[in-house]
């Protein structure tokens, strides 16, 4: 299965600033997603990153706060804008790979963000 490199692995940021998280895959994939995991909670889907078009955001997430780029089939970025302490979370990218009879998902190692 494909290997995902996500960086940075962690960061501590000042409120009001922005952080861009990168997700690099070692092979071309059609579907790429961004998730947020708030402290002690489950993973919540932020958006589906679409190659060549605007990302598809889930309810409660907006492009101005979480702009996403997907310039090609191996790379995507998520920016957390105008950060506040409530944005302190782990952010994960994920890909879906389809086989002949089934499919599977792989996750990056995550970016642990602390906003102070």
């Amino acid at each position: 299965s494909a290997v995902i490199s996500q960086k940075p692995s962690r960061d501590i940021c000042q409120r009001g600033t922005s952080l861009t998280i990168q997700c690099q895959v070692d092979s071309q994939v059609t579907m790429m997603f961004w998730y947020r995991q708030q402290p002690g909670q489950s993973l919540t889907l932020i958006a589906t990153a679409n190659q060549g078009s605007e990302a598809t955001y889930e309810s409660g997430f907006v492009i101005d706060k979480f702009p996403i780029s997907r310039p090609n089939l191996t790379f995507s970025t998520l920016t957390v804008s105008n950060m506040s302490p409530e944005d302190s979370s782990i952010y994960l990218c994920s890909i879906r790979q389809d086989g002949e009879l089934s499919y599977g998902y792989t996750f990056g190692s995550g970016t642990r963000l602390t906003v102070v």
């Binding site: 997603f33 589906t48 994920s94 879906r96 089934s102 599977g104 998902y105 995550g110």
Partner: protein, 111 residues
């Protein structure tokens, strides 16, 4: 809407005993079900999945799960727990293109 529920926040079991982590789902159509494990300060690791076929699915690290359509359940099981199995376990359902996750169950295995 697709959803998955993990009714237990925490499961405690003694080493060597069997363990079960519960998961129920609600989907329209055929469910694609997954289990993942997350160790502290580490990423999400795939354990097993059910797409179609045999209701008993075997996965990594000796885990297995049984798909029960009538009870809409996909419980994770292991015959003999290890202390190293202590972690956070997530059940997830394939909903359209992305995965939808349950809230997670913390498994604590005592020696």
């Amino acid at each position: 809407a697709q959803s998955v529920a993990q009714p237990e926040d925490q499961v405690n079991v003694a080493e060597g005993n069997p363990l079960t982590v519960k998961c129920t789902y609600s989907v329209s159509g055929n469910p694609y079900l997954f289990w993942y494990v997350q160790y502290p300060n580490r990423g999400l690791q795939f354990l097993l999945k059910y797409i179609t076929g045999d209701n008993l699915v075997k996965g990594s690290y000796g885990f297995e799960a049984e798909f029960n359509k009538s009870q809409t359940s996909f419980h994770l099981k292991k015959p003999s727990a290890l202390v190293s199995d202590s972690a956070l376990y997530f059940c997830a359902v394939g909903a359209g293109t992305a995965l939808i996750f349950g809230k997670g169950t913390t498994l604590s295995v005592s020696s």
